[in-house]
C-alpha cells in the first residue's frame, strides 16, 4: 500500500477566493491551525474578476440607507426564495466587514468628505456598492491575501482536492494532488470549509475561468451534504460577444451604474418597454429621470437598465431573437453618449471604468468613450449550492462547512450585483469562526486507508486507460466541450421540459464516456489529466442543475421556462433540494421555506 504524506490541520479551507481567504483568516485568528488549499496561485482566484463593488449599507452617500433596506432589496431580488435569516445577517454584518477591509489596507474610492464612496447598482434602492474604479474584486482579494499571509496559515498552492474523506458521518480530511508533480497529498482535519466558487465551466459561454468546475458542489454532494436552489443560474446580461475569443467575458454592471444605456439595432432604449410590476414604483418613467438618478439626484428613480439581472438578460434575449440585435448577435451598451451630458466625458469614463476601457480597446479594438459595445448574456454565477445552516454555515455533514458561491441560501432565485463580494466576507468569516469552534470542540478523526487507496486508484485510472493502445475515449476535451454546448443549448436562459430531459440523457451518455477516458503523458503538470478528473464534478453539477430545473415547473427569478411562463404560488414557497440516495442516484425533493419571522416580514412590507 502506498504511503502518502499526511498533512494535519484543525481546519482545512478548500478554495482561496474571497470567501476561502476570509474563512482561513477568521479561523486562524482563534488560534487553531489552518490549511488553505487552492487550485491556482494565491491571489488569482476568480474573485479578481469582480468589478462592481461590495454591497453594504454604510449610508455614506445616501443616509436613507440602512440594513433593513438592503435586506428588503435582497429578498425582493431573490423572489423571496432566499434563506431570510442569511439575508438578515448579511445586511447587518456587511458594513462591519467592509470597514474591516479598510483596516487591513484596502483603498476604496472616496466621497468628497473622505469616506468610502458607494455606487448605484441593479436592484439596490440606494447607492450601496463600495468600490475601487472597476477592480473591486482585485482589491478585496489582494487585501485579504496580504493580511492572510501574516496570520500563520499554511497555503498549499496549485493543489486540487479530488475527494473528501470521512470517518462515519463526520468529515475527516481530503485527498488531493498537486499540479506541479502530480503527487498525492492527504489532508487530515477536524473541520473543512468548502469555498470553491461556481460551475460556469459547464456552459459554453461563460465569464468563469477554468477552475470553476463545481468542485465544492460535487465534493459536498458525495460527502452527504444537500444541494439547494441548483436550478438558479445567473446569466449576466452583459458579456462581450465579439470577437469569438472573448465571448462571455464580463462587462460590469457598473457601466450601467455610471449611466450606460442599452439599445437595439434601431437605437431604441428597449428596457423602457417592459418594467415588472414589482419594480414599477422604483423605476424611472423617462430617460431624463434615469440620467438624473445616475448623477445622484435623490428624488429621481433608477433607470430600467438597473433592474435585476434576470429581467435585463431576458429583455436582451427577446430583442436578439426578434431580429433587433447587433451584427454579432448582441445588443448595444452605450456609455459614449455621456459626451452630450458631461464635459470631459472621455476622462470621466476612463477614470471610473478603466479596466472596461482597457479590455475593449485591447481585445476588441473599441474605444468605449466613442462607440457603443456589443453585449449579450453570459453564464456568470450560480445561486444554488451546498445547503448550510444560516448562522454557522455548516452543512448537514458534521464538520463540513461551505461559504461563498458554492454555498446557497442568501440569494434565492436571483442575486443582486454587489451581494456576492459582501456574501464572501460576511459568510466567509462566519464559516471560519464556526469551523474553528467545531475543531476546538471535537476530537480527531481517523483517516481510512481504504478510502485513500480507492481515491488514488480512481485518480490514476485515466493514465492506465490511456496506456492501452486504442483507448476508446482519447482525451477529456471533447467530452467537456460537448457538455458545455449541451448545457448552453438545452438548460440555458430559456428552458423547456423536453429539452432538459434530453440534456439528462445526454449527461448520462457523457458519464459513460467519462468513465472510459484515457490520458497520456506523465503526472507532472498535465492539464489533460486534470481535466479528465474535473469531468466528475462538471457532470455532477450539470445533472444537479438540470434535475432541479425540471422539478421547478414555473418561471421565477433567474429560471425562465417557455412551457411554464408564470409564477406558481405553491412553488414560490419551496426550495428544490437534492441529496445522494443510498443507491447512488440523485434524489430531488421540494422543501417548504421556513416561515419568515414576523418582524422581518414587516420590514419587507414597509419597503415595498
Amino acid at each position: 500500500m502506498a504511503e502518502y504524506p499526511i498533512i494535519e490541520h484543525d481546519v482545512l479551507v478548500i478554495g482561496a477566493g474571497g470567501a476561502g481567504l476570509r474563512a482561513a483568516i477568521e479561523a486562524s485568528a482563534t488560534g487553531v491551525s489552518v490549511g488553505l488549499v487552492c487550485k491556482s496561485l494565491l491571489g488569482k482566484a476568480h474573485t479578481v474578476m469582480a468589478e462592481g463593488g461590495i454591497a453594504a449599507a454604510l449610508a455614506n452617500v445616501d443616509d436613507r440607507d440602512n440594513w433593513k433596506v438592503h435586506f428588503s432589496d435582497t429578498m425582493r431580488g431573490g423572489q423571496y426564495l432566499n434563506n431570510w435569516r442569511m439575508a438578515e445577517l448579511h445586511a447587518q454584518e456587511a458594513p462591519a466587514r467592509v470597514r474591516e477591509l479598510e483596516a487591513w489596507g484596502a483603498v476604496f474610492d472616496r466621497t468628497s468628505d473622505g469616506r468610502i464612496l458607494q455606487r448605484n447598482f441593479g436592484g439596490h434602492r440606494y447607492p450601496r456598492l463600495a468600490h475601487v474604479g472597476d477592480r473591486t474584486g482585485l482589491e478585496m482579494i489582494r487585501t485579504l491575501q496580504d493580511h492572510g499571509i501574516h496570520q500563520g496559515i499554511d497555503v498549499h498552492m496549485e493543489c486540487t482536492v479530488v475527494t473528501l474523506l470521512k470517518d462515519g458521518e463526520r468529515v475527516a480530511g481530503a485527498f488531493a494532488y498537486e499540479r506541479e508533480k502530480g503527487r498525492f497529498k492527504v489532508f487530515k482535519a477536524k473541520s473543512i470549509v468548502l469555498a470553491t466558487g461556481g460551475i460556469g465551466r459547464a456552459y459554453k459561454i461563460t465569464s468563469n475561468s477554468w477552475e470553476y468546475t463545481g468542485d465544492g458542489h460535487a465534493l459536498g454532494y458525495y460527502a452527504g451534504a444537500e444541494l439547494i436552489d441548483m436550478e438558479f443560474i445567473q446569466f449576466h446580461p452583459t458579456g462581450m460577444v465579439w470577437p469569438p475569443s472573448v465571448r462571455g467575458i464580463l462587462v460590469t454592471e457598473g457601466v450601467r451604474g455610471e449611466g450606460g444605456i442599452l439599445t437595439n439595432k434601431d437605437g431604441k432604449r428597449f428596457m423602457f418597454d417592459e418594467i415588472p410590476d414589482a419594480y414599477k414604483a422604483q423605476t424611472a418613467d423617462s430617460p431624463e429621470e434615469g440620467w438624473r438618478y445616475c448623477q445622484g439626484d435623490k428624488n429621481a428613480r433608477r433607470p430600467p437598465e438597473l433592474l435585476t439581472r434576470d429581467h435585463v438578460a431576458r429583455c436582451i434575449v427577446r430583442e436578439i431573437k426578434a431580429g433587433r440585435g447587433t451584427p454579432h448577435g448582441g445588443v448595444y451598451l452605450d456609455i459614449a453618449w455621456l459626451k452630450d451630458k458631461v464635459p470631459n466625458s472621455v476622462e470621466h469614463i476612463k477614470k471610473k471604468l478603466p479596466s472596461m476601457y482597457h479590455q475593449f480597446k485591447q481585445l476588441a479594438d473599441i474605444d468605449i468613450t466613442r462607440e457603443p459595445m456589443e453585449v449579450g448574456p453570459t453564464t456568470h454565477y450560480i445561486m444554488g449550492g451546498v445547503r448550510v445552516d444560516s448562522d454557522t454555515q455548516m452543512s448537514r455533514v458534521p464538520g463540513l462547512f461551505a461559504a461563498g458561491e458554492c454555498a446557497a441560501g442568501i440569494n434565492g432565485a436571483n442575486r443582486l450585483g454587489g451581494n456576492s463580494l459582501s456574501d464572501l466576507i460576511v459568510f466567509g468569516k462566519r464559516a471560519g469562526e464556526f469551523a474553528a469552534k467545531f475543531a476546538k470542540e471535537n476530537s480527531n478523526m481517523r483517516i481510512n486507508p481504504d478510502q485513500i487507496e480507492e481515491a488514488a486508484r480512481t485518480a490514476l485510472a485515466p493514465f492506465e486507460r490511456g496506456a492501452k493502445t486504442g483507448a476508446s475515449e482519447p482525451g477529456p476535451y471533447p467530452i467537456q466541450q460537448e457538455l458545455q454546448e449541451m448545457m448552453q443549448d438545452l438548460v440555458g436562459i430559456v428552458r423547456r421540459e423536453d429539452e432538459m430531459v434530453r440534456a439528462l440523457e445526454g449527461i448520462q451518455k457523457l458519464w459513460e464516456r467519462a468513465k472510459k477516458v484515457g490520458v497520456y503523458g506523465n503526472r507532472e503538470y498535465n492539464p489533460g489529466w486534470h481535466t479528465a478528473l474535473d469531468l466528475t464534478n462538471l457532470l455532477t453539477s450539470a445533472e444537479a442543475v438540470t434535475r432541479s430545473a425540471i422539478e421547478r415547473k414555473e418561471s421565477r427569478g433567474a429560471q425562465f421556462r417557455e412551457d411554464y411562463l408564470n409564477k406558481d404560488a405553491a412553488l414560490g414557497k419551496v426550495n428544490i433540494v437534492l441529496r445522494r440516495a443510498a443507491d447512488g442516484s440523485m434524489e430531488v425533493r421540494r422543501e417548504p421555506i421556513p416561515q419568515i419571522r414576523p418582524d422581518l416580514q414587516q420590514i419587507i412590507e414597509e419597503m415595498k
Binding site: V48, V107, R110, G114, E180, S245, I249, Q359
Partner: protein
C-alpha cells in the same frame, strides 16, 4: 481558414526543445486561444497557466516572440504570422514544465515585507478619512495583478540572478503602495536600503515597459523610494534638521515620512 505555426518550448524542467505546432487562426484570436487549441487537439499535456483570459489575474505570463506578455492579451493580428510565433516561459524563475515556472520565490519575498499598520481611526465610529487625491497614486500601485512580467524582464533578476539581494520591481511597487498609504505608520526604509536592495535598480525602465496595467513603476514607485532612502540615510543636512526638529505622523497625514 488560415493557419499559423506556433513554436512552443516543451520541457520537463531539465532538458527541453522547441516544437512546432500548426493551428487554425481566426479573427480576434489571442495567443492563449492558440495554446488552448493545440492543447485540446495535439498536445493534451502541454502545461500552461491561465485563469481569467481577460488580463486581470496575471496567470498567463510568457515570452511571445521574445517579449514578456500576457498570452490572453496578445492579439494574433499584432504578430507577424508568416513566420512561426515563438512562445516560451518567463526566464527569471526556474522552469517546472513547458510554459510553467516556479514563481514561489515571489510569495516568500512578500511575506518578509512589513505589512500594513494603520494609525488610530479618525472618527468615533472606528473609520478613517482619506481624500481621493491622496490615494490616486496608491491606487495606481494596487492595480498590480502580480503577473511578474516586470520581475521577468529586470536584468538584476533575469540576468544576474540576484534573488537573494533584490526584491524586484513588483515588490518595490508593493512597498511604495504601503509607504505612500495615508494611513500606514510603518517605516520600511532600512530594509529597502539593505536586504531589499533598492540600490541595485539602475533605472533602465524595462519593467515599466512591460507592465500590462501600465503602472509607471520606475518613475512613480522606485524613484520616489530611492529619494526617501537617500534623504533618510545619505543627506547630512536632512539628518541635522531631523535632530533639531523631529517630525510626527499624526492624522490627517500630509506628506508621509
Amino acid at each position: 481558414m488560415n493557419k499559423a505555426t506556433f513554436r512552443i518550448w516543451r520541457s520537463d524542467g531539465t532538458t527541453g526543445k522547441f516544437v512546432d505546432y500548426e493551428t487554425e487562426v481566426s479573427e480576434g484570436m489571442v495567443v492563449l486561444d492558440a495554446i488552448h487549441q493545440i492543447q485540446a487537439a495535439q498536445a493534451n499535456d502541454l502545461a500552461c497557466r491561465w485563469n481569467c483570459k481577460a488580463g486581470k489575474c496575471g496567470s498567463c505570463s510568457a515570452e511571445v516572440n521574445g517579449m514578456p506578455k500576457l498570452m490572453c492579451m496578445t492579439r494574433l493580428n499584432d504578430l507577424p504570422l508568416d513566420k512561426p510565433v515563438t512562445v516560451e516561459p518567463i526566464k527569471a524563475f526556474p522552469l517546472l514544465k513547458d510554459l510553467v515556472t516556479d514563481v514561489s520565490w515571489n510569495f516568500r519575498v512578500k511575506k518578509k515585507i512589513k505589512p500594513f499598520k494603520p494609525r488610530a481611526p479618525d472618527a468615533p465610529d472606528g473609520t478613517w478619512r482619506m481624500a481621493q487625491e491622496d490615494i490616486d497614486r496608491v491606487q495606481e500601485f494596487r492595480k498590480c495583478i502580480e503577473c511578474f512580467l516586470c520581475q521577468d524582464v529586470c536584468h538584476v533578476l533575469r540576468d544576474h540572478q540576484l534573488h537573494e539581494q533584490f526584491i524586484g520591481p513588483r515588490f518595490l511597487v508593493h512597498v511604495a503602495a504601503l509607504e505612500m498609504h495615508p494611513l500606514d505608520t510603518e517605516n520600511r526604509l532600512p530594509e529597502l536600503k539593505d536586504a531589499q536592495g533598492i540600490g541595485y535598480c539602475n533605472i533602465t525602465k524595462c519593467c515599466t515597459k512591460v507592465c500590462p496595467e501600465h503602472i509607471t513603476i520606475t518613475d512613480n514607485a522606485i524613484i520616489p523610494l530611492k529619494e526617501r532612502v537617500v534623504d533618510e540615510f545619505y543627506d547630512p543636512l536632512a539628518k541635522l534638521l531631523r535632530k533639531l526638529k523631529p517630525m510626527t505622523n499624526d492624522a490627517p497625514a500630509g506628506v508621509k515620512r
